[in-house]
Each structure stands twice: as structure tokens, then as C-alpha cells.
Point group: C2
Chain length 254, copies 2
């Protein structure tokens, strides 16, 4: 009988420099999830180093079933940012332990694997091989931001990253605003943190003044916040965005 | 100084009849979230009765700061299913305790409030009043299903409920399939559990055989599962869907 593929959530503090220690794992992850993570001896990870750091935090709550050195961690192939994952690329060999009866964990550097993050190809390959896939509950910056936005949570789209080129980006923002208006659909996007401020600038320069814009920054962290207001209000009192904290941008046009 | 509005996640076992007790809260909710919930004396809820049941489960892990009878719970006005929430409808009076300095919790019957659930109007009103909004980490059936689907998690849309009328539903499915194909965008939808089987039937009858379809049923529950395969494979070996367990449907057209 084959093992299962567990999709293990990570915390949202990855890459956040700043004061103090990372928050206790139990602030954002259920004990049930930490218990499962402590049992797993085989991992597929976005990044092996951050996975070892995660397992040390797990061990502080629930002792690992085996020494960290003997836990096997293999890294996912790097995807182009925003690229669509392809089906079964080289995933089968990563799933060999499951075919041999061992449970495997899939983990990202932050949040849920395979959501705005690599891993979907591995999950697809697991389904193709008849391996049971089990999602575990944890923080999703997208859903936390959507809930905190007060925008439409009955219809929404996540579009990933916008183009970096200024003209292309404005064109894309206008296109998304038209889509949002037509379907009353909240549009959500992310950016690498050092481009947070330019993206906000482009949104304020391009969107209609009546469009509702929400920015969530550093959610689940001590210093996290959400601001939600019309674009006109954002223009009148601009907010500085940190360069090293992840942010989620949501807007809804009327 | 005004209190904060905490968006408190609930478990995903609401309305699921079946064997055994509901799972321990710590299987799906972080201890940090349970601790905050135990402190809150003012709640706005989708349903007061299920909120009291939730608080009893909280109390079993972290004793409530005050007796349950003295916790104030007010219900959100009922929204039409799938309707877009309006801005500040009668929400201000619900936020009075926050204006008086008390923290408030917002909670749904299942999952994250204001995501595929009522509450966005209250959150919008909180922002308008300058009340700090804090999202707490918990299970989101949509994101758990998306991660487990192996479909594109870099671009996806949640469209809520499809029309009940068979002709309208087919038209809408075709429209969503075209959208999915054009933008390589995973389309996600839900249905009231007793209509799970008819929705699956309509998807199998309408979508192209090569379209990838994923159904997640009862996620986070003991009996939960995800099946992800082409529509052609689903047609060849159909799966019975339970009438009393929530399901999430995702598809991606090529």
C-alpha cells in the first residue's frame, strides 16, 4: 500500500527580517498539523534549508520521530515565477518513497504549498500514481488578506504577479479593473516585497478613484496590518509599504 | 482607543452528520487562535447557536475568560446565497462594542469568515470606522482543495455557486471553461451538499474530456478525500458524492 502525500503549511514569516524571534509555531499552525509534520521522514520542499529550520521549530513543540539528519529532504525544480506548473515533470522520482509505502510531506517556504507557490506538478503526479493527497490546515496569506479586505469574498480571482514593465503593468491593471467591474469579482495579486511600493504606486496611478483597494502586509506577524479604502482615499493619505515584508493587494471595482 | 475586529476561523465539520465526535479543535486550529477566541466577550456570527457550540469546544482547550452565558453574540443579517455583500448595511451598530474599546470576533459556521461566507459588509464597515481588522489563521476549504487538486495555483478564480437551472448551469460551465482555457486559470465553485451529485453530473456532461477536474470532499475530516483526473477519466469511473458533506469543485481547461 502506498504512502500519502501530505501538503504541509508553513508559517508566513519567511524572509521577514526584523526584531525578535519568529513566532511560536503554535500561534499559526494547529497542533494536529505539527504532530503529522513531526512524523514525516520524507519531504519534498521548495527549499531544503528553510525546511530544516521549520522542522527545528516543529521539534520544539512535538519531538521529531527521527533525528533531523536522517530526514530526507529533496528540492522541487525551480519554476519561473508565475509560470504555470506542468504535469508530471520529474515528479515521479520524488514520489518513490510514497510508492514504497512511506508518507511524504510537501512544503513551501511560506504558507500552503502549491498555492501561489511551486508544488502543483508534484501533486498532479501523485494523483496520476494513485497516491492519496491530504491537505493540512494552515495560514494562507491570500485568504487572510481577502477576509480582512472587506471586499467581495463570494467571487474573487488571484492573478499572481503583474508584469514588471510599467506600460504592460498599467494595461494589465486596467484589464483586471474591467474584469472586476463586470463580474463584481475581487482581483488579488502579489509582488516580491522590494517591489511592493512600485506596485502600489502603479495601482494608485491607474485604478479609478472609486475602486476599493486593500493592502495586507505581514499578516499573522506582530506588525501585520490591513488597510482598505477607496483609491481616492489612498491617494489622499498614502501609506509607505515595507520592502522586506510580503504584501497582498486586492481591489474591487464598481 | 477602539477595540479590534478579529476574523476567527471555524472548523470545517459544520453540518456533517456521521460517526463519532467532531475532531478536537487543535487538529485544525492553532492554539494561538483558540487563546484569542477564549478572550473575546463580543461576537458577530453567521449563526449564534453554532458559535456557542464553537465556544464550548474552545473552552475545552483554553477556559473562556468569562462564562458563556455572558458572552454577547449577535447574528449577521442573512445574505442571499451568492449575493454580493453591500457596504455598511446595519453593520455600524454591530461594531458599537469595538467603538467602546472591546475586541470583537467575527465567525462563520465553517471556515474563514467573509470568504465564500457572509461578513464582508461588517469588515468594510470596520475599516470605514477606523477599527483595526485582524485575520486569524485557520482552515480554508477553498485553498485546501486548490492545493490538493494539483491544478494551477498561480492563477485561479472562485465563482461561488452556479445557477440551479440546468440550461443556465451548462451555459455558465461552458463560459468558465473558456475563461479557464484562455488564462490557464483554475475555476473553483461550491454547492449546497445535497446538490453535489447533480453539479458533478452537469460538469461531466458539459466539460471537455481533456479538462482536468478535481473534487475535494469533507476536507480536514477523517473521511475527507480529493480526486483529480481528466473529465474523461471521471466519466469512465464515476464517483458517488455524499449528500451531507461539503465539497469543492475545481477545473482547469487546456
Amino acid at each position: 500500500m502506498s504512502g500519502r502525500l501530505f501538503l504541509v503549511p508553513n508559517t508566513l514569516d519567511f524572509g521577514v527580517t526584523g526584531t525578535g524571534l519568529p513566532p511560536d509555531l503554535q500561534e499559526v499552525l494547529p497542533l494536529g498539523v505539527i504532530r503529522i509534520a513531526a512524523q514525516l521522514g520524507f519531504w519534498v520542499a521548495e527549499n531544503a534549508k528553510t525546511t530544516r529550520a521549520f522542522l527545528k521549530r516543529v521539534d520544539a513543540v512535538v519531538p521529531l520521530a527521527q533525528p533531523l539528519q536522517s530526514v530526507q529532504i529533496v528540492e522541487l525544480p525551480r519554476l519561473q515565477k508565475g509560470a504555470q506548473p506542468t504535469g508530471a515533470i520529474a515528479s515521479e522520482s520524488m514520489l518513490t518513497p510514497a510508492m514504497q509505502g512511506h508518507d511524504i510531506g510537501l512544503i513551501s517556504e511560506a504558507g500552503l504549498p502549491a498555492v501561489a507557490d511551486p508544488g502543483a506538478g508534484l501533486v498532479a503526479a501523485a494523483h496520476a500514481l494513485g497516491i492519496q493527497v491530504v491537505s493540512l490546515s494552515g495560514p494562507s496569506s491570500l485568504m487572510l488578506a481577502l477576509a480582512a479586505s472587506g471586499l467581495n469574498g463570494q467571487s474573487f480571482a488571484f492573478v499572481g504577479y503583474l508584469p514588471v514593465d510599467a506600460t504592460d503593468r498599467s494595461t494589465r491593471i486596467r484589464e483586471l479593473e474591467a474584469l472586476s467591474r463586470r463580474g463584481a469579482q475581487t482581483q488579488m495579486m502579489i509582488e516580491t516585497p522590494y517591489r511592493n511600493a512600485p506596485l502600489l504606486g502603479a495601482l494608485l496611478a491607474t485604478l479609478s478613484g472609486e475602486t476599493q483597494l486593500s493592502v495586507s502586509c505581514g499578516l499573522t506577524l506582530e506588525q501585520g496590518w490591513t488597510r482598505s479604502a477607496t483609491v481616492a482615499a489612498w491617494r489622499a493619505a498614502s501609506t509607505a509599504l515595507p520592502k522586506d515584508v510580503p504584501a497582498v493587494f486586492c481591489f474591487l471595482a464598481h
